[in-house]
């Protein structure tokens, strides 16, 4: 379903590649966690899969498409094969739950009859039946993420990417969200979830791909993974220099307060 062959991505004006020579294969219907610290290249990897970013080296094949040779006009058809969920939900605040989910169908030109039948169905699947008319701000974080998942899944894409979907949620709610993704996975959808929520990763016992500074450092089969294999934070025990008295600086407001002398000197420099 997804095949990385020695894929490298270097952002412009960056010394170090965000993804460095990653090779791996994710099969149809798999559930895969991608873990690693911030800046380890998890998000970049997901963005490469949906061609939000272009790889600078290597071969990347997604849903039968060679991404380095995919012309721009065919990118939309690739994205129709991929559903996406994000940490910040990305719901439209002025649309109801129903409208948010229906929007994904509308922009693809789905007939009204299909929207009427599919949207309640998928809302029921994610456990939001009866909340169709609520607006995002009337929902809890977990509920909002369920709406986002419903929207990502309503077109039944074969691949679902989730970039830190539990990053803004309580641990209990996080587990519910991951269980929902697991249910979706059991319908045959390939799910790739980037996270650093190790409790959930441990609980789910799935395949885990571990990145460190863009390099693939671990690819552990389902069930073999525990948090223990993750390098713990290295303590920085260098002493912090004592705070030096800083000169007062003009705050730029004309509030009648006397301007400190330092500002005058500063402007002269």
């Amino acid at each position: 379903m997804i095949l990385f062959e020695n894929v490298t991505k270097t952002y412009p004006k960056s010394h170090r590649p965000a993804v460095n020579g990653v090779s791996l294969e994710i099969g149809r219907g798999e559930f895969v966690f991608v873990v690693g610290t911030s800046g380890s290249g998890k998000s970049t990897m997901l963005q490469l899969i949906m061609k939000e970013q272009d790889a600078t080296g290597g071969r990347l094949s997604v849903a039968g498409r060679e991404l380095d040779r995919l012309p721009d006009r065919k990118v939309p058809s690739l994205r129709r094969q991929i559903g996406c969920v994000f940490q910040d939900f990305r719901l439209l605040p002025n649309k109801t739950v129903h409208q948010n989910v229906a929007y994904a169908l509308q922009v693809l030109g789905a007939p009204r009859s299909r929207i009427r039948s599919t949207v309640p169905e998928v809302l029921d699947l994610v456990g939001l039946a009866g909340m169709e008319k609520r607006f995002p701000h009337q929902l809890s974080g977990g509920e909002q993420q369920r709406v986002a998942i419903a929207r990502a899944f309503v077109n039944r894409p074969p691949i679902l990417l989730a970039d830190e979907p539990t990053g803004n949620l309580d641990p209990g709610i996080s587990l519910e969200i991951v269980q929902l993704l697991d249910r979706i996975n059991r319908t045959g959808t390939t799910v790739v979830m980037a996270t650093h929520d190790f409790a959930t990763v441990d609980a789910m016992r799935k395949r885990v791909i571990r990145l460190d500074k863009g390099v693939l450092v671990g690819d552990v089969e389902a069930g073999d993974y525990t948090t223990g294999s993750i390098p713990r934070i290295e303590l920085d025990d260098r002493p912090i220099p004592a705070r030096v008295a800083e000169p007062a600086v003009a705050d730029g407001y004309d509030d009648g307060a006397p301007e400190p002398q330092a500002a005058v000197q500063g402007s002269g420099r």
Partner: protein
């Protein structure tokens, strides 16, 4: 379904960005009105040229007593000279189409009639002279007539009315070109405004477009509402401009100038009807091209 969705998006966009849409309407309206005025000016010049070049005459002024023309030496033209000039003019056919003789009294009467409400009517009879009025088959052949008649005894001067008219036409032409030049500046402003507006709306709707991109909406679906919003606003502006132009020609030219100055030809509303489709079509092309180019830069897929 998709059409209905797209129309809804366009309606929402226009409603949410009403002031931007209005500014596009106004700028296109003014620029297209100026352009229309310039084009109308050009057509007016053409119309007048057609009208006047059929009527322009070459005037062969004959000598009267005490005229200042050196060729006359202060003596009036004798009958023999008159006949000689007439014969020479007749000999110039077919360059010359017709020759009329207008006596000094007739000339004076005609002048008094033409300028009856003007202070010029107080000019005395002594300003006039007998003359031959010559119609040419080809108005540009004035030199042929002038070179054979000028210098003949009894011929005071040979005057070409076309030269007088040309000064006037050049003047009108300059004004209409100035209007067109101004309008092209306004068109430039309109293009930049459309581009800014699109950037602004694309930014304000980045959530929606972001989701559209994520779920794999085609470029067309994402961009069409933006393009249509500017096209609708600018076509509305151009249509208003054409309405204003129509009113200007209908009430200013047909209803006022034509009735006041009856002895010349003026453009009519038909001329507005003739240019309007081109202007509105041009605006559609301009607005869609501008917005498409802007979207290519600011709405990357």
């Amino acid at each position: 379904m998709r059409l209905q969705f797209l129309l809804g998006e366009i309606g929402n966009g226009l409603r949410r960005n009403l002031s931007m849409a209005l500014s596009v309407v106004i700028v296109t309206m003014i620029s297209m009105y100026l352009l229309g005025l310039g084009l109308m000016g050009q057509r007016q010049v053409d119309t007048m040229k057609d009208y006047w070049y059929d009527r322009v005459q070459v005037t062969v002024l004959l000598c009267a007593e005490k005229t200042r023309y050196t060729n006359c030496a202060g003596e009036p033209t004798t009958d023999a000279q008159r006949t000689a000039i007439r014969a020479e003019l007749d000999a110039l056919k077919p360059t010359v189409a017709e020759v009329f003789y207008e006596s000094r009294d007739e000339a004076f009467d005609r002048f008094k009639q033409t300028y009856q409400n003007s202070p010029l009517a107080r000019a005395g009879e002594s300003y006039f002279a007998d003359s031959y009025r010559v119609n040419l088959n080809d108005a540009s052949k004035f030199d042929v007539v002038a070179s054979s008649i000028k210098g003949m005894p009894g011929a005071a001067d040979v005057q070409d009315q076309k030269k007088l008219l040309e000064k006037f036409f050049t003047f009108m032409n300059t004004i209409s070109w100035a209007a067109i030049a101004l309008s092209s500046l306004m068109v430039l402003a309109a293009v930049m405004l459309i581009s800014t507006t699109i950037r602004q709306t694309a930014f304000s709707r980045r959530r929606e477009t972001g989701i559209m991109r994520l779920v794999g909406a085609s470029n067309f679906t994402i961009r069409f509402p933006f393009v249509m919003e500017t096209v609708i606003a600018s076509v509305l502006g151009a249509s208003l401009a054409m309405g204003m132009l129509w009113a200007t020609v209908r009430y200013g030219v047909v209803g006022f100038l034509s009735e006041t100055l009856t002895d010349t030809a003026f453009i009519g509303v038909a001329d507005v009807v003739y240019v309007a489709p081109f202007i509105i079509g041009g605006v559609v092309v301009l607005a869609s091209a501008t917005s498409w180019v802007t979207l290519r830069r600011y709405l990357r897929v």
